[in-house]
Subunit: 330 residues, 4 copies
């Protein structure tokens, strides 16, 4: 993976996949760290699509400074399945070559990593940074975006608990995560949710009903909050109605949806994003390529992208079961 040192003079940045808070903080840190190391930073607009189309512009320090605490990605993201085709990727390389850019830092998820790996094999020095609110990149304990999405979820569940409690309600809250339960598990533990349901522990509706009935009707708890990862159930409204019919407890559902994606990145998000970003520049200056950066056991780490992609996902089932017992009244 080692190439000749200081071979690079220009580095480009792109964001890909779902946007995540902290992407802008990361872009800023890469730009600033690049300058510090004497590199010229460039921004690729609209992800891999923009790369292929050549929408690549020199970065402005004053602009990236302004975005340090802004949600989303100001250089945009885009779906671009065409990047799987080799000729499309060669076009991307051509665009970078034309601008004498030797290196590319990609902030995104698994799919984005694949793209970075493919560019690595054709001579672009690439580094992948984990950017997704879902925390579903196994080579990093935490991804850029997860910290803020967690806080957006938690502050909204706090609001939901206020109203659930005022009316003795059960509220089912659907959170994002694609197929990863991290957001559900962290937010559920943080808010004392009576149930956390992810792909790991999909429960039969009758079993949910039993829990709600026991907590509300037998033990007279003043509210029940159930956190559910998206895609686990097809229709949360139906489940809410079923619970209400069976238990006579006023039950509602709330799908948090897109608000989980945006928002001012938290301080911890920006700290982690800055650290990963600076490390990416340091690795490039050290002649490295084809690596994915992670925060593992609270330390920065870089793995070959293919190895990073092959890491196993953590299991949360034990934690989920434990906190179901802790958070339900006895």
């Amino acid at each position: 993976m080692i190439m000749e040192k200081n071979a690079i003079k220009r580095v480009a940045i792109l964001t890909s996949g779902g946007d995540a808070p902290g992407m802008n903080s990361s872009i800023r840190a890469i730009v600033k760290a690049a300058r510090w190391k004497g590199l010229e930073p460039y921004l690729v607009y609209e992800g891999y699509k923009g790369l292929v189309e050549g929408d690549i512009r020199p970065a402005s320090d004053i602009e990236v400074d302004r975005y340090i605490n802004q949600g989303g990605t100001f250089i945009y993201s885009a779906r671009f399945p065409e990047f799987k085709e080799e000729k499309v990727r060669l076009k991307a390389k051509e665009q970078l070559d034309k601008k004498q850019i030797q290196a590319l830092i990609v902030i995104g998820g698994d799919g984005s990593y694949h793209g970075a790996q493919l560019l690595h094999t054709i001579g672009i020095k690439t580094i992948g940074l984990p950017g997704t609110i879902d925390n579903d990149i196994s080579s990093s304990d935490y991804t850029i975006g997860f910290f803020t999405a967690l806080e957006s979820i938690v502050s909204n569940i706090d609001r939901i608990r206020d109203t659930a409690r005022s009316h003795h309600r059960c509220i089912l809250v659907e959170v994002m995560g694609r197929y990863a339960g991290d957001l559900a598990v962290y937010s559920g533990i943080a808010t004392g949710a009576e149930l956390i349901i992810t792909a790991e522990n999909k429960m039969a509706i009758e079993d949910i009903v039993k829990v709600v009935d026991h907590q509300m009707n037998k033990l007279k708890k003043d509210s029940v909050i159930i956190i559910v990862t998206e895609h686990v159930y097809e229709n949360l409204k139906e489940i809410a109605q079923k619970i209400q019919t069976e238990t006579n407890v006023d039950t509602r559902e709330s799908i948090l949806g897109h608000l989980q994606r945006g928002g001012t990145p938290t301080g911890m998000e920006r700290y982690v994003a800055a650290q990963m970003s600076t490390y990416a520049i340091e690795l490039l200056c050290d002649g490295q390529s084809g690596l994915a950066i992670g925060l593992v056991n609270n330390k920065l780490q870089a793995l070959p992208i293919l190895e990073a992609l092959a890491q196993p996902r953590p299991k949360y089932i034990e934690l989920i079961n434990k906190y179901a017992k802790i958070n339900q009244e006895k």
Copy 2:
């Protein structure tokens, strides 16, 4: 409406209808203002239901102080249609008489006001405070709960704009309001929404499609946010899909739902709640009853409840149309 002065020694407080942030601040202020005037404050738990069942307890200053900045209503709210029956209301009066409570302050919406009016006619001195996030009490320019719900909505739409912009999306955001457009109008103007749709201006789907197409495809705007009041359309998901099909713009819907109800009341909410609450105590000490308090033209005002209920609702249609023009690119 004038009764003998200082006839009251004890005053009870209840919250009714949908919970709203600031109800707790209001309870606190009533308790503190009651003590200031030498009255003993009592709390009725679970709204009119608790009143009839006699769940009425002396207020604790240390407890209400803790709730000054908490969402929801810590004395709970409840639906209680039975209160329409006279014998049920007489039972309520009996409960108050038994505890030598002469006055009752009710925080809630129109339905709660009706209850207060009925109690007034059978000899309980009552005052109504406007408590609902929907701002749909015509006798007050602003209701307790509206300020905070507006901020919850705006901060979440800001998050949604971040992600919409990152992906060049159109996102339809459904906000609460029952049949009142206030939350939609205020949040739409505050966030620069390209369209605000309330019961006053239900648009045909084709017309929405035209706007999205023009903004995104013709003028290349980077995102479109459409705020819609609940109950205007039956199925927002279908509309989003229709827009996407017709315009090829990635379109999503987001139903903010119950998170709009809770949360730390804002400073302005708590300021207004305190002012209204203190005024309620002052009116009671002045021998008044059967009044609804409002903030009208930035001044506290009290109207006979029946008159308050008969006030006309404001119209927003002009404002909605103006800001549609202002916020859409030309």
Copy 3:
């Protein structure tokens, strides 16, 4: 004040005096409303200084859209006492004439209004918008910036109350306001402060000591928060020490300072800013000039600037005294 209609084709915007959250929202709304009315909007950078130096640039819609929810003023503000000299002002007019800009909207405080009035007298059509966190512009019940500063203060006093309570402390909190007590009064009422001290009711230290002693030592209240407007006392630390010495209550001071100026403008701030801004454009298109816009009794109003400057300030002393009684334990 009426001039020929539609005489203007271009309108410039400048911000002046202390920055305030909502200034950016206002700039955006002016730009969008100008386009709606067929005017070309320009931005003046660095206030009156930039005006005289000719730092005037066409506004970009995409840029102002991004700033709708950003604190500060992205076109900067600056002190510029030289504007009092006539020849300097003539230079400003020259710069506007050169760019064929006939109108100027100034967002700022009293000093900024004076500048707008002087430009009005030499033929520039000017409108003043009240922009300051201090709420000290008498011709408007609320100023752009006040709403957000209030929330920044309240959320920080909530934090301070948490720690005061945990340790049975008295904490003196200094808030901004220049010589106006509005921020102190609103935040004090919102947070249940035991004392609010502004220029209207500067208290002798011995009298503060008595209150703290009574609340904490006699009545065993768990904390006391005292809100003080800046400039009332010279040295808050000394007062805190004096209280501690005399009462044996652990007492600290906290000067909120510059954090009160910035931050994401609240939804209400942005709503009011948009309304005032749109009204400014409407007035200009109607041929008006030399006016200051205000929100008075919850309605938009425009007064001749000199008249606006002559409005009397509200008195808060009664409110302050009332809430001292309400918020102190008996």
Copy 4:
């Protein structure tokens, strides 16, 4: 350290030292986890002082549930140097014995750990949890309170940056940390501060002046933010004035102070607090005592308290120097 299993039936909780957000979340989690394991949880009011005086009460689930997202510590904290005396500690043991409480969980800093260790040696089964905003407990990478304090600081520095930028100012921001630079380092990196100054890198004023002069006067940066740990300089106001005199850059200081202590604990705070708290109960049920819990390399760990207290503090000097280069314009 191993004692007989299941010897305990009752466990008490106390908070000690400076309050920290997340203490209430931790109390809640301990209470809930205790019930889960069949233990009866008790609350000690006012730290070690209350322990000695016997202010120990059974915990209420409904009460602790309400405090899950509240700042401060609702069971209060207190200074109590008398606990160094053996006879005072024996009195504490007596109070616990009287109530048949065999175990005590202490949430606090180093001083609180010492107390827990001493109780351990006289037969109380004790566990220490790291609770302080300063993050200065070396046996844990993160302490309960640090996450939230970081966010309070960062959101306030964001506000300060808004106003600094609007007026081309330099603002010195003093943050807490006692003698630990963690809050300064994390918040400085998160906000892109041009300088971070802690006890590790106290700079001569002339050197600060040089940086400000270079950034603002030579390179025309629009603002400079300097984060300083408390206790490093005696008088920040003087330094600000010196900078202003020497550079002619408008310079201010802002001492964040007590607002850093309170506030709603973040989701991450509450997640970590819950995990540590549950672990404490599990250790006690496993017969352990005299241990301090930490989060080390993202994993829960328990060390003998004396060993925990002897851990070395991390050094930040390299990070500080690196980010000074990254965040200053070249």
